[in-house]
Symmetry: none
Subunit: 220 residues, 2 copies
Amino acid sequence: MKYSASKEDHLKAIFHLQSEQGVVTTNALAEALQTRPASVTDMLKKLKEQKLLLYERYKGFRLNNEGKKVALQIIRKHRLWEYFLVKKLQFGWDEVHEMAEELEHISSKKLVERLDAFLGFPETDPHGDPIPDSQGRFTSPRQLSLAQLPLNKVAEVSGISRQTTEMLELLQHKKIGLGTKLEVRRKFPFDNSLEIKIRNYPPVTISSLVAKNVLVKDEE
Amino acid sequence: MKYSASKEDHLKAIFHLQSEQGVVTTNALAEALQTRPASVTDMLKKLKEQKLLLYERYKGFRLNNEGKKVALQIIRKHRLWEYFLVKKLQFGWDEVHEMAEELEHISSKKLVERLDAFLGFPETDPHGDPIPDSQGRFTSPRQLSLAQLPLNKVAEVSGISRQTTEMLELLQHKKIGLGTKLEVRRKFPFDNSLEIKIRNYPPVTISSLVAKNVLVKDEE
DNA sequence: ATTTAATTTTAGACAAATCTAAAATTTAAA
DNA sequence: TTTAAATTTTAGATTTGTCTAAAATTAAAT
C-alpha cells in the first residue's frame, strides 16, 4: 500500500504523541501538525476508512497494528535519512530535520534497505533515537526520558530532545551530557523535580521540564 | 520559488521534448507524462501564469529562460540522485529511474550541493547524460547517442558503444565511421528509426538500435 | 445539577490536479 | 477550397486535502 504524504505525516504524529503522552487528542494532533482540528477530524475518518486507525467520534482514537507498522516505517526512513545527512553529507544534527521530513516520503522499499546497508545498519539516528528495523522492531535498546526512568536504576544519557542553547548551558553546568551515566535518587511529587546522582559528584536537582528532555537508555 | 511535483514534471518533460524534437505539442507532452491532453492544457495555463512558459492558445508553447532554469535544476537533481543510487547504493543503471523521479522533487538547494560534493562532482550520470551545474550549465563536453541528437544539428561520430562485427559492417555500408559528420533529418516515431544525412551522400535510414550505439559529439 | 467552557465534529466552501465529453481551431485531404 | 480529420481547448465534474463558521458533545466549574 502507498499512502499520501499527508496521511503518513498524520500516522507518524499520532504514533509519537501516543508513545509520549499515552493518549492523543484532536487538538494536540492539530497543534503537532500545524493544522486545524477540523482538518484532523477529516483525516481521522479517512485513516479509519483505510483501517489504520481505531476511531469513534468524540471518543478518541489510536493506531491499530497496521497503522503502527506504517508509522514505524516512516520513522525508520526519517531516521536513516537523518543519519545519512549527518554522517555522509556533513550536515549538523540541528539542520537535518526539515530535509528528512521530505525524504521520509520516498516510497521505494528497496531504496531504504540499500540505504540502511550503505550506512552500516546504524542503530540510532544522530539525535540518539533508535532506528526501527525493516519489520518495525527496535533492535536497539530503547530510549526513555529521565522523567520516566525508574528510581535507582543506572542509565546512560543518549539524547537531548529539545536542543535550545539555554538548556544545553544548564545541562553543561550540571555536568550532564551525552554518555553521562546517572541514576534518579528521588522524585518530588510536588513539582516533579528529580534528584540525580552522577558517579563521583554530589547529587543535583533538575526540574521536570529538563527531565522530560533528557533521554537515557537502560544499561543492558 | 517552489513548485509542485506535477509542475516540475511538466517543465522537465517540456525541456526534454523541446531539445529532442525541437518543438513540443500538447499531445506529445500528454503522451510523455502519461496524462490527457486536456490536463496538459490546464497546466500550460498555470505555467504561463507563473511566467515559466510562453504560451498562446492553439499557437504552441515553449519554456522561457526562467522555465529552462527550473527544468535544468530538476534534471540536475535527477541525475545526481541516479549517480548516487548506482555508485553508492549499488543499484543497476536500469533500476534507478523511478526512484530518481521521486528524489528529484526534494527541494533543499543545500542538500543538492552537498550531495554533488559527496559524489565528487560527477559530470555525467550513469547513462552518460551530462549533469548540469548549479547554474544550469553543462560543464561536460557532451557525447550523446545519435538517438538523442536534435534534428538538423550537425555532429561528428565520436564512438561506437557496442562493437559487433555485424554492426560495424552495417555502418560501413552506410558510410558511417569515426569522424563522419552527419545530421538527423527526420525521426519516425513508429519505430524510432532515423533518416540521416551525410554531406555529399543521399539520405540513409538507420534503426533505433543502431542509433543508440552510435555516439556523437556536438560541434561547438 | 445547571451553566459555562473547552473540545470535537459537521456543513459547506475552496484550491490543485486531474478527468470526460463536447466545442473550437488548425491542418490535411479530396 | 470546401470537407474531413486531427489537435487543442473549454466546460463542467471529481478527488484530495485543507479551511472557516457553526453545531454537537463532553468536561469543568460554580
